[in-house]
């Protein structure tokens, strides 16, 4: 199971929204196979019936009152944007 193919790497890169070159795909195929191969050692352990730990503290559904308050202004929200127009973020065309 630990052998990852170059095609898989390209698919995962697309899912992760990363553009990778052919050379990078080849390198990542090797590196990810090694890391996943290393991780396969977990299969030595019988985890039948073991509950997964997602969070170490015994807390869930921490609620607070939904109270509106002023945070940042529109101008501030746009302050770090790489491109903006008329009080909006501006991005390239979404559809061709």
């Amino acid at each position: 199971m630990s052998d990852i193919t170059k095609d898989q790497v390209k698919h995962v890169a697309h899912l992760a929204r990363l553009a990778i070159t052919e050379d990078e795909a080849a390198e990542l195929t090797k590196e990810l196979s090694a890391i996943i191969g290393f991780a396969e050692q977990l299969n030595e352990l019988d985890t039948e019936g073991v509950e997964p730990t997602t969070h170490v503290l015994n807390m869930k559904n921490v609620m607070r009152k939904d109270e509106p308050k002023a945070t940042i202004t529109q101008e501030e929200a746009l302050k770090n944007a790489p491109d903006k127009k008329d009080g909006h973020y501006r991005v390239p065309a979404i559809m061709d």
């Binding site: 199971m1 990852i4 898989q8 790497v9 995962v12 890169a13 899912l15 992760a16 929204r17 990363l18 553009a19 990778i20 990542l28 590196e31 990810l32 090694a34 890391i35 996943i36 290393f38 991780a39 050692q41 977990l42 299969n43 030595e44 352990l45 985890t47 073991v50 509950e51 997964p52 730990t53 997602t54 969070h55 170490v56 503290l57 807390m59 921490v62 607070r64 940042i72 501030e76 929200a77 302050k79 770090n80 944007a81 790489p82 491109d83 973020y89 991005v91 390239p92 065309a93 979404i94 061709d96």
Partner: protein, 491 residues
């Protein structure tokens, strides 16, 4: 002798008696930075103008207002902690232009309330992914004890700056050892608090089920003092716990009589450098002489921790780093005609190699058909690792071992071999998986003059006992009084 050879408490007295001013302390920082930071490279951004303005404000205040647990104390902030109006890069090219996060992290509000002075933002591995500070987009921070060696990571700048005497304290973050390992490598004190002890509001998220903000200082007393300022529940972080914050400085009694210490055989066994093992065994003799007892125990699943950690942390990172899309902040690629290419090219140009590798690993581990085999399996193993600790803490007060299996390694030695780099974190990672607090304190030096760290791990929310044990050891030894001679090996 530098003013930074004093504890915060001693400096508080000197300020109170008007022997020194806050400006003297800020001068001490910037003079030292000018002297050594070209070699150490601990800072990404300096905040000199504001630091001096703050010094003036504090010095000019009426005596009755000169209060605050960190009044006038110069500190450094890891560059993944948001600072209002001060550039915050996370060590990444992607955030090179992130000049104003617009708000202060809750821990920064805490420091400001107690009147600490921020000197600047500390260098780090990109998005805290790394163990050597070599993945920083800006520069590889160097170890103040020997600049051919790494300072550790990912809070390498935070630890190196304290070790080099550029600041008196710093904040770091620890996901798999990122405070304790650099603290060990740089010969300083670094604490990762219990998961939930300190608010992460304003900390750039890496692996949300593991990340914790913590403190780096020269002494245990200073460390306890800074933690008191930043600890506690925060309504802005729903994972911060509703548990009272005791006075950590009051826990430093020097008394460890009857303290029950567990020493996992896995922590002094195969793969641990003989020099490191010897330093730890010597530390245990010190504890014996102070009236504590220790026994060898086993953490049988600890050898699986690194594999579980890299699956869990990378999976969480792949989700957390999805926010870096080039729309609201950060550097956008100029080579994109459509939205999808904008995402892909901005991320590919903005992220470094290690960050991309982890996003890829995490995306793979979470993808259809692999989720159960990798991510969920790792979370089940995490349960086994946590159970190991729970069981030991039924019978013992603290777990003690080395912080790292070896002292610092050379710059360039491991950077091209990710797996070797990852496995170096085998003694710190289990603590994050279990969510317990852990500290690293200096416990000796290698033959080459590099510091060795002793790791003390405690029960959930029992930082007091961790500090008490660390402080008693520190006071009984003189490792923490040694200072590096920058530019060469020294003892």
């Amino acid at each position: 002798m530098s003013l930074f050879d004093h504890t915060i408490k001693e400096l508080e007295e000197k300020l109170h008696n008007k022997e020194i001013t806050v400006k003297d302390l800020v001068d001490t920082s910037f003079n030292r930075i000018k002297e050594v930071d070209e070699d150490v490279k601990a800072f990404i951004t300096l905040d000199e103008e504001n630091a001096y303005a703050k010094a003036k404000e504090l010095d000019d205040a009426p005596d009755t207002d000169k209060t605050g647990a960190l009044f006038g104390i110069p500190g450094g902030i890891k560059d993944n902690i948001m600072t209002n109006g001060l550039r915050t890069t996370c060590g990444s090219a992607f955030l090179d232009n992130f000049n104003d996060p617009l708000y202060d992290a809750t821990v920064i509000e805490g420091l400001n309330k107690e009147k600490a002075v921020t000197i600047g933002k500390m260098n780090m591995d990109e998005f805290a992914m790394g163990s050597s500070n070599e993945t920083s987009y800006y520069a590889a921070t160097r170890n103040p004890w020997n600049t051919d060696y790494v300072p550790g990571g990912s809070s390498g700048g935070s630890a190196a700056a304290v070790g080099a005497g550029e600041v008196l304290f710093s904040l770091g973050s620890d996901t798999g050892g990122s405070i304790r390992q650099p603290a060990a490598f740089c010969g300083v004190v670094g604490l990762k608090p219990t998961y939930g002890r300190v608010s992460r509001f304003g900390l750039a998220a890496f692996a949300s089920s593991l990340d914790q903000v913590g403190t780096i200082t020269r002494t245990v007393e200073d460390n306890a003092r800074v933690l008191e300022v930043i600890a506690g529940q925060d309504k802005m972080d729903s994972t911060s716990a509703n548990v009272d914050v005791p006075s950590y400085t009051e826990a430093l009694t020097g008394d460890v009589k009857g303290l029950k210490i567990a020493v996992p055989k896995e922590y002094i066994g195969e793969g641990v450098d003989p020099e490191v093992k010897e330093a730890v065994l010597n530390a245990l003799k010190v504890y014996e002489s102070l009236g504590a007892t220790w026994e060898e125990v086993s953490l049988p699943h600890s050898k699986y921790a690194v594999a579980a950690y890299y699956l869990i942390s990378s999976s969480e990172a792949s989700a957390n780093l999805a926010r870096f899309d080039g729309v609201r902040y950060g550097v956008r690629s100029e080579n994109a005609d459509n939205m999808l290419d904008m995402y892909k090219n901005s991320r590919s140009e903005g992220f470094g190699k290690e960050v991309k590798r982890r996003i890829m690993l995490g995306t793979f581990a979470l993808s259809t058909g692999y989720y159960d085999a990798y991510y969920k399996k790792a979370q089940k193993v995490r349960t086994l690792i946590k159970n190991d600790f729970d069981k030991i803490f039924e019978d013992y007060d603290v777990v003690i071992g080395p912080t790292t299996p070896t002292p610092a390694f050379k710059v360039g030695e491991k950077i091209d071999d990710p797996l070797t780099m990852y496995t170096g974190d085998l003694l710190t990672i289990p603590v994050n998986l279990a969510g317990t607090p852990g500290i690293s304190v200096p416990c000796g030096f290698s033959e080459t003059g590099l510091p060795i760290g002793l790791q003390i791990i405690g029960k959930h929310f029992d930082e007091s006992t961790v500090y008490r044990a660390a402080h008693a050891f520190e006071q009984a030894t003189d490792h923490h009084t040694k200072r590096p001679q920058l530019g060469g090996v020294s003892k």
